[in-house]
């Protein structure tokens, strides 16, 4: 039931189910954070693959940008999953809380579109420039600052592997702000990459025994059902007020997670 709500909220706000799911499981259901992260990774793959299937067909996501940056996110994911076995659970909870507060800040701030007009040498060399469909036909765009985006993507992958979240917020930050990719293209491409990133860390989690079938089953099915419903209501709902409510929830969860981490460390 809780995972259903998480999936619904996640797909409504575009933040992904993981940021709600892990605090919900650890704080309310008192699940060990490693089991929670394992179950969350599984649900992240399910929702992102489901959503990506729809986006890819519309022609917004850029497979070359996605694939190139996936080199960074998968290396990061392996590092993050490895760190998860070393960092004490209280530490994971505190980092999780900090990331929640930061992503709430990011989602509350209106995104400023900075589009590059001139082609960039490295972006062109890597054949990343593309175009996306608009009402007035295809709109071309150019990709910038590939190294900065690559570095941020490594960070996004590490967070994803450590915390079991999609880290869509960091991914969008890397593509939208650093590489100046159009918002619509960066959100859909980021969604596309989340599944591959989560799969990279999920493999390690599975083999470390962090993925429990009894816990992951309701979480995966619930999140999937919730995201299917969320995608349908998204069209009608007022996203702005929803975002504000969601940001408030995230802030509260973030503070709770940090508190939980600090008290359990003592």
């Amino acid at each position: 039931m809780g995972s259903f709500v998480a999936g619904f909220l996640g797909s409504l706000t575009g933040l992904g189910g993981g940021v709600v799911l892990v605090p919900l499981l650890t704080l309310v259901f008192k699940v060990d954070i490693r089991y929670a992260v394992g179950a969350s990774l599984v649900s992240v793959i399910a929702t992102s693959s489901g959503a990506a299937a729809a986006y890819v067909k519309e022609g917004f996501s850029n497979i070359r940008i996605g694939m190139f940056l996936e080199v960074a996110t998968t290396i990061g994911a392996l590092v993050g999953a490895f760190l998860a076995t070393k960092v004490p659970t209280a530490g994971i909870a505190i980092i999780f809380g900090a990331v929640l507060l930061y992503s709430a800040y990011l989602s509350a701030r209106p995104p400023a579109e900075k589009l590059g007009q001139q082609p960039d040498r490295l972006g062109t060399l890597l054949r990343m420039n593309g175009s996306y469909p608009t009402d007035h036909g295809p709109q071309p765009y150019f990709v910038h600052r590939v190294p900065a985006g690559f570095g941020l993507m490594f960070g996004a992958g590490t967070l994803s592997g450590l915390l079991g979240i999609g880290s869509g917020a960091v991914k969008v930050l890397a593509m939208d702000q650093a590489m100046r990719i159009p918002f619509k293209v960066s959100t859909t491409t980021s969604n596309f990459m989340i599944g591959v990133t989560a799969a990279a860390s999920a493999g390690i989690y599975l083999r470390r025994g962090y993925i429990d079938p009894g816990l992951s089953m309701p979480v995966m099915l619930g999140v999937l059902a919730g995201s299917l419903l969320g995608a349908k209501t998204l069209v009608k709902a007022k996203t702005h007020s929803l975002r504000l409510i969601f940001s408030a929830v995230i802030v509260a969860l973030g503070i709770e997670m940090i508190y939980h981490g600090l008290t359990s460390a003592m």
Partner: protein
């Protein structure tokens, strides 16, 4: 950029990838659901405790152990097999992209995709 004799355009590849992802998610959800039915019939009355971390038994950690458990008709094994299918879905997508880039003769991205695919396989099967 005109490839008169090739229907391997970026658009057609994107269509296939979209279908591949959808199929993978649907298939794994169906397997998990089937396993869930079996699991709940046997253990539905007991309340699982996840407060204390124990880690999964070895047969639910490795690919061949999961398949063996699923074939033996054990609920937990079937669910875990469904989760394995889900994890394999993005891997299959990357493998297909590799194939597609080879068909497009885009050697730069054949290399990039090969790196991503090997990282994924290391995670799932490698010596980590």
């Amino acid at each position: 950029m005109t490839r008169l004799f090739s229907n391997w355009t970026d658009q057609s590849i994107e269509q296939i990838i979209g279908n591949l992802l959808r199929f993978g998610v649907m298939l794994s959800a169906a397997v998990v659901l089937a396993g869930a039915g079996l699991y709940l019939r046997n253990y539905g009355h007991t309340l699982a405790d996840y407060r204390i971390f124990r880690g999964e038994p070895n047969d639910l950690r490795e690919v061949h152990g999961i398949i063996a458990d699923a074939l033996a008709g054990r609920g937990r094994g079937i669910i875990q097999f469904g989760l394995l299918l889900l994890i394999a879905t993005p891997v299959a997508r990357v493998a297909f992209s590799l194939f597609a880039f080879i068909m497009e003769k885009d050697w730069l991205y054949v290399g990039v995709t090969a790196v991503v695919l090997s990282l994924l396989l290391i995670s799932l099967l490698g010596p980590l």
